[in-house]
Amino acid sequence: MTSTIVAEGLHQRYRGGAVALDGFDLNVPEGIVHGLLGPNGAGKTTAVRVLATLLGFGTGRAEVAGADVRRDPASVRERIALTGQYAAVDDLLSGRQNLVLFGRLHRMRAREAGRRADELLERFDLTGAAGRSAKTYSGGMRRRLDLAASLIRRPRVLFLDEPTTGLDPRSRNQVWQAVRGLVAEGTTVLLTTQYLEEADQLAGRISVMDAGRVVAEGTPDELKSALGADRLEVVIREAGRLGDAAAVVGRVARSEPDVDPDLRRLRVPVTDRVGALTAVLHELQAAGITVADIGVHRPTLDEAFLHLTGRVEVTA
């Protein structure tokens, strides 16, 4: 598979001198959604702005859709589109006028630009509002218009910088749907987000960023299992039997369980999810211990994320 986005050792400082990118590496194959995940200030937006030719960079090398970002930004711009955190549309113009304007700037003839605008308005459910000023649009409508503007010419690479921040669930689903549709047509998407659910939903691979560099990379499942094994959790009815229960669970899982007396809960890492669950349940019943709740939990992406960026010690 060929790489559509390549970044090698990118360094970039803010004007004040603080480091924004500190050896940022990225390799995104063609035709997937790649998530760039990280807390505020991790450098996600800087990375996207550098790759989209909006921002220069210090040292390093970057290539997007086969063109060198530093040496040939014009070719990069021919092949990309960018939808940022804030809808980059003209507030005074109507939705349709916006799309026609961007079409014209893509060197379409007036008639072609008009036709494309109507298609996109239809596709993003904006036909009814086509004549209204963009400033009268709701947040979700603006974001949809912004996304539509990115799709006037189908880009080979689409940068989506926190595309659903502040959107209601319905608009968010519409954006997600549009992204999935694009990828099905062959566009490569680099998605930055703070929402782990969003990355989980859309991204085939995820890079976790912290302090200007990638600290972990993999599929969402790989990242979750990087945190460790699944955990078996048992809550028992009588606090007095916690000691007995711990002995049973420890024997089955071959590992000392965590005991939380307040919640009457025991937790232990397991490898065989179903086997461990049935065995523990069976043994506890045999020992006459009443189980109030039992389950096996995979670490959430949130936990994986916090663990990887070291923001909070995750004790599992």
């Binding site: 702005r49 989209a52 030719t53 909006l54 921002l55 220069g56 014009a74 711009r77 021919e78 990309i80 589109a81 960018l82 940022g84 804030y86 809808a87 980059a88 549309v89 003209d90 507030d91 005074l92 113009l93 109507s94 006028q97 304007l101 961007f102 014209r104 700037l105 893509h106 060197r107 000023s133 503007a149």
Partner: protein, 263 residues
Amino acid sequence: MSVGTAVADGRVMAGRYLRHVVRAPEELVIYFALPIMFVLVFGYVFGSGMAVPGGGHYREFLIPGVFVMTMFYGIGATGTGIAVDLDRGVVDRFRSMPMARSALITGRMAADQVRALLEISALVVTGLLVGWRWHLGVPKLLAALALLLLLRLALSCVGVALGMAAKNPDTVATIVFPLAFPLSAISNVFVAPELMPGWLGVVSEWNPISATTTAVRELCGNPGIGADSWPAEHALLLAVVWPVALIVIVGPIAVRRYQRLGV
């Protein structure tokens, strides 16, 4: 990027700024109302007490100055327009597109020229209604209007540079308006410099606004061309030199500011 595509992109961008005028005409109304108000306030309220050196009607003296002042206030419109674009992030989209980067600036300046023509037309009508006339024929009138457009072109450059520097429409307003009034007051727009205290009169004579004002008065045969000072005698020359100098100095600053947005 060829010159042809840069021109085409600039034209699309000019169309965009003109569409703004159509879609939000209230801004233009303000820019029309302000000079008309000045004509009425100075022409009728203060004007009864104003003297024109060498004689002549005060409103004939005033109108060329208001033409120039209107061009001058255009800095605010240009600067605000550019700052709004930067503020809202729409410039990010333009910069990530394969379009000529010059188009934002050339488009804005072209649209400003069209706006200036509209503003001048409204003022010509107002002037005729209050008794202003051109006395030296249409060719000289057109030359005067051309000088006004040249001044507006230079001030567009200033406005673009200001908008790029401020990046925020409110900042532009707080810079332009407190500066615009004294700059137009300390010129020969309302009062002849020879009636001012010595040093103020000198500042006022050399003010770029005064040069174009005197030139327009001269070309329209309006009174108050002024004393025999060097700037007054070479007003036509200065009315060309000042704007060209501004374009040469500020134009590159504006372009560099725009190119450096991403650095």
